[in-house]
């Protein structure tokens, strides 16, 4: 019996369900945030298991282009799935590719989703909703404290929660959060302990909060035996810090308060990693056993040989279908670092300029951003979320409410 066609079919089957997810990074290279936003307009064009990730990308691209209201709707939709949903496709993920499961994000990705949603609420003046989001960002960044697992240590959520407390006039809670921050390990890989705005006075004094994102966030690759090891890789970027100018005057240098790669690698292992290891071993064993049984059956011949070949084929097919490859989907639009700049500026419209520098202090001229609008209200804060990416355009308040797909055919 010629078994080659069967083996070819098995190889095809093994590839079934392994279609690659939308490549947001490639889209960014092609046409920036506009490209991502347009590509993701029709959510139903993507497999259901990837839709939460796609929603995050779509929200991110809208936010980057200044469509804040529309971005908030997408982030909230994703938030509900990431925080209230149970996921899905789990049974398929246990035998076939891990990618079959519904994407829910790693803790740092869930924290970012909550944080962006919170910032958008804050910019809209919905401080209570913002407060809840920042609290959730801290919650998802926390492990089982009773078991001595990791405590939340991603400062952007702490800083914005402090701003929310100040809108309530609750200085006591600001102090409490600052005490929590002071107990964190002063690890420069995570945040700059010299950051001057981690005091009650500095927080009270400021009315402008600039969160400036630098570089590219981490990404995953499948390595090791049958690709069963999910490797976390640091994004590649040159920028290390930024300088902020307001109305032509230098305001100061930013301080790192969050490192996405650090958050990615310090959240412990996954149960899925053990499942993948087991699958990789089982896959190898089944392929070897199946092929051996078929070879023996072929040699023995007769009725018994045919039975052995049949059993061997079944085992071989099972082994080939088993996919031990780690899920490498991730929110690749996240930044590498989050930097902070706080200031007190007079109410009214201001013109912000951002300059970015590499590790040697050389300015990266292609990243310089001029004419970034900032409007400081009579009371309360102005919050600016910016990024070193030259195509990131925070936009104005009027842009915030615009429909990003105005004039285009309606899609879900």
């Amino acid at each position: 019996m010629n078994i080659k066609p069967i083996l070819a079919l098995c190889a095809l089957l093994a590839l079934a369900g392994c279609q690659s997810v939308y490549d947001a990074k490639a889209a960014m290279k092609k046409g920036g945030y506009q490209q991502v936003m347009m590509d993701t307009q029709d959510l139903n064009a993507f497999p259901e298991r990837d839709q939460t990730l796609v929603l995050n990308w779509r929200a991110h691209s809208k936010m980057a282009l200044g469509y804040r209201d529309s971005a908030r709707v997408d982030y909230l939709r994703a938030w509900n799935i990431m925080n209230h949903g149970d996921g899905g496709g789990v049974a398929a993920a246990n035998w076939f590719s891990e990618r079959q499961k519904f994407w829910m994000g790693d803790p740092y990705e869930r924290a970012f989703n909550s944080w962006y949603l919170g910032v958008l609420y804050y910019q809209q003046g919905k401080f209570e909703d913002a407060m809840a989001c920042f609290r959730n960002a801290i919650f998802v960044d926390t492990g089982d404290l009773k078991q001595g697992e990791f405590a939340a240590d991603w400062l952007p959520a702490f800083v914005m929660r402090m701003r929310c407390f100040l809108t309530r006039g609750d200085e006591g809670s600001v102090k409490m959060l600052l005490e929590e921050i002071s107990r964190l390990e002063k690890d420069k890989a995570n945040f700059d302990p010299e950051c001057p705005w981690l005091t009650v006075e500095a927080q009270k004094d400021a009315n402008v909060v600039m969160m400036i994102e630098l570089g590219e966030g981490p990404y995953f690759t499948a390595e090791g035996h049958h690709g069963s090891v999910r490797a976390m890789n640091q994004g590649d970027y040159r920028e290390r810090f930024a300088e902020v100018f307001v109305n032509g005057q230098k305001l100061g240098t930013t301080y790192k308060i969050g490192d996405t790669f650090y958050q990615c690698i310090t959240r412990g292992g996954r149960v899925m990693d053990d499942i993948l290891k087991g699958k990789a071993i089982a896959k190898t064993t089944m392929i070897a056993a199946g092929a051996t049984a078929m070879a023996v059956g072929h040699r023995v011949g007769g009725k018994g040989g045919l039975v052995a070949m049949g059993v061997g084929a079944a085992v071989l097919i099972g082994g080939l279908l088993m996919n031990a490859e780690a899920d490498i989907r991730g929110n690749t639009l996240l930044p590498g670092e989050t930097h902070l700049m706080m200031a007190k500026l007079p109410p009214g419209k201001h013109d912000v300029e951002l300059r970015f520098y590499d590790a040697n202090g050389r300015e990266l001229r292609d990243m310089r951003q001029v004419g970034v609008p900032l409007e400081v209200p009579e009371t309360g804060d102005a919050v600016l979320l910016a990024r070193s990416h030259p195509r990131y355009k925070p936009g104005s308040q009027s842009q915030a409410q615009a429909d990003p797909y105005a004039g285009l055919p309606k899609k879900k």
Binding site: H84, D86, G88, N94, W95, F102, E128, N136, T142, D144
Partner: protein, 210 residues
């Protein structure tokens, strides 16, 4: 024999396709009827049913304490005016405050007559619209009802706060949500009543998720 092998391969292919297209299903809960809402391991966070439950408790408290009757007895039969303050949300769940505030106001206006309670609209957007309308009236650009230019001064503030104690062990997310509410006399800052309502929700995460 070849046919059997082909059938086996076809079966595996069908299984792969069905499994990969989600037959295993997303078990995300959707709730269309709030009466279906249950406290159980399948859900987490505040739901509409919780808010309705708390609203009922608050309205009952107003009735039990005879707030309207007592006020009318003291102030020449005039019903008290209540302003509902935007609740404070210390949970980790957004989009709760607005629905709660609207729901509470609607429930109270449905269950009390204008002779029992009057309500003052304090939403910031309405306040700014009223301010510009008043300005136009005072400038003579719009007509007014003489003697009724003054906005309603609230006799009581009704204030709510949502807090949570949220814990996780990686497998379970456990949220104990405490809804507290209070009625404050705006002239004396006396706390007329304060109550609380606790709801616990636990949700289980699949082990394949971190």
């Amino acid at each position: 024999m070849k046919i059997r092998i082909l059938l086996a391969v076809l079966f595996m292919f069908t299984f792969t396709t069905v499994a990969s297209t989600g037959a295993t299903g997303c078990r995300q809960s959707t709730r269309e009827d709030i009466k279906d809402d249950e406290v159980g391991p399948e859900s987490s966070g505040p739901y509409a049913a919780d808010l309705v439950e708390v609203t009922d408790v608050m309205v009952d408290k107003l009735k039990k304490q005879k707030i309207s009757e007592n006020f009318k007895a003291r102030y020449k039969g005039e019903p008290p005016i209540i302003a509902i303050i935007r609740p404070q949300n210390d949970t980790r769940f957004p989009e709760v405050t607005q629905i709660f505030q609207e729901d509470l106001l609607t429930a109270m206006m449905e269950r009390f007559t204008r002779e029992q309670f009057r309500f003052s609209q304090r939403d910031s957007d309405v306040q700014s619209a009223i301010a510009s309308e008043k300005e136009a009236k005072e400038a003579g650009e719009r007509t007014d009802r003489t003697g009724r230019r003054t906005k309603l001064g609230a006799d009581y503030f009704m204030k709510a706060k949502f807090s949570t104690l949220s814990m996780t062990d990686g497998q379970y997310e456990d949220d104990t949500i405490l809804y507290t509410y209070e009625l404050i006399d705006t002239e004396t800052d006396e706390l007329i009543f304060k109550g609380g309502h606790k709801i616990r929700r636990v949700s289980k995460k699949s082990a394949v998720y971190r």
